[in-house]
């Protein structure tokens, strides 16, 4: 099995063999990032494909580190590309809020019974993020989960840091209400 540095070198040299290996190794990771931003599963898959095309076509810009660090550096670089592709997709659809639910087929069920409830909770929390209006969803994902600062977010989505903060505040408020609604609903069903 090739190590990451070998794969990276192969990708820099535009060798399809190594590109395919890299794609197969990281596509699930990429989809999990993109699915937090893009509402529909099929649209998220398309965005991941676009992200990898962009990644491989610009691999000459990747700055290698030591063998030990390359995996981490690459994961961070790929994450940034996937996030940018997701934001571009949402911009192209004019940040319009999506309608219609998310099919249950997209989730992987846990084989372990003990984990099942926990997994369902995590899935439900991700659905709550996805149900935010696109602009709120982007800021929440970037700040809370992906660790960007408001200044960086402002530069990425062409707004001000102040606007980013107020958007995050509104997103949190909506999520709080959604969580409370979900809790009340589950209490009523008992």
């Amino acid at each position: 099995m090739e190590n990451i540095t070998q794969i990276i070198n192969g990708c820099i040299n535009k060798e399809h063999k190594y590109q395919k290996v890299l794609y197969e190794r990281y596509r699930d990771y990429a989809l999990r990032i993109v699915f937090r931003y893009i509402y529909r599963y099929d649209a998220a898959v398309d965005a991941v494909n676009d992200g990898f095309v962009k990644l491989f076509n610009h691999f000459h810009k990747f700055e290698k580190g030591t063998d030990a660090d390359n995996e981490k550096i690459f994961a961070g670089w790929m994450k940034k590309i996937m996030i940018n592709v997701s934001i571009d997709y949402l911009r192209r659809s004019n940040m319009l809020p999506e309608i219609g639910g998310i099919s249950k087929d997209v989730w992987e069920l846990s084989k372990n019974k003990d984990d099942a409830d926990q997994t369902m909770l995590y899935n439900d929390l991700i659905v709550l993020i996805k149900e935010l209006p696109p602009a709120y969803r982007i800021v929440f994902n970037l700040y809370v989960i992906d660790g960007y600062s408001h200044i960086e977010i402002a530069a990425m989505i062409n707004t001000t840091a102040g606007n980013s903060k107020s958007t995050l505040s509104r997103a949190r408020e909506l999520l709080r209400k959604s969580i409370k609604k979900t809790e009340n609903a589950s209490l009523c069903s008992i």
Binding site: K14, L125, I129, I145
Partner: protein, 408 residues
Amino acid sequence: MQHIENDMDDLFRNASEKYRLKPAEDNWDKIKPQLTEKPGPVTTNTKKTGRLLIIGLLIILSVGGFIKYYHDAAEIALHKPLTKNIDDKTSAAEKKPSEKQKSISKKQNKQSLVTGNEYLKQNKFAISSSYNTKQYGILMVDNNAAKELFTALKNDTAENLLIEKIKTADDKSNQHITEKMLQSKAGIQLKENNSINSSIRKNKLIINEMRQKFYLAIIAGPSYNQVKYQGFEKPGFAAGIKAGYYLNKRIAVEAGFLFSKKNYSSDGKYFSMKHVGASMPQGMEVLSLKGSSSIFEIPVHLKYDLMQKNKSNVFLSAGISSYILTNEKNNYHTMLNGVKQDMTSVYKKSRSYFAASIDASAGYEYKINNYNTIRFQPYIQIPFKGTGVGSMPVMSAGVHFGFTHFTR
């Protein structure tokens, strides 16, 4: 509060790491054809940018030159001094106006050079008034002085004057005007002067002075909206302000800023999926919808006063309105895979539409006093283009009730 937020953030961070998604499909065959063998050439847009810069510079220079030319050409001969004394005896027949002016000024004992405006204020008297205008007369002694005043008043825009005619006393065709003026107070003075100086030739300058040209109006009223003649939903409303300026006695140009709420319903076939399709599940069909929009309207109209009486006015108005749509809420009745379901979506992103509708109206205005009127104005707005996420052509009809104030 902060610790609750931190807990919530940790919860979502945890979820993002541990949630499970079904494995992604292998799409390598779709990706491979799009990969370049070598780094693509970096194209520069330098030439295109350069051309655009040159064109931009030419446009700026042309516009600047244009403005300067008209600024130089449009020097206004304001405040040309005139002699005040109207009892001049000198004949105007033989000498040029400028020489005449000098000879008058030399001969007068009391000389005061006044502007056309000041002369007018001191010497005008009212003849009649109508909805928009008051008619004044000015007694002039001297032909040349009258012409100079006429020129000065024409150029002197501060007085809002419309000079309609200048008559001479010995113009037989206008004898009736002379008689009318003689009935006024100043006319009596003319008679008196006549007895003193019967040889003085007197000119009359009749001026129609418009009342204040600039006005502001507050308007509001209900509106009814429909898409493609499918019937009305519950009424909406429109309210805002308008500013207007009379170009002449009858024609005014108006511009406004209104907030309106439009309620409508439509068959799904008039709802375009072009912008909103990506946000709906694939294969979803919109069967019908009911919606409402919050819009800032910017109308620009021409108003024509059709029938002006002393206290009232019937007018026609036409123009265009541009929209800034700030909020849209649609309740969709949809079908997906044979299953019907109702869905709601709110769109808060602003969209602007230039010249979105063609407007036409007729109205009635009643003058409360010299500066204020009230108006009743039914109107119709015919859509020029579709608006909203579904690009639907929404036609509106309603009434504006308004209060208008003319500036002093």
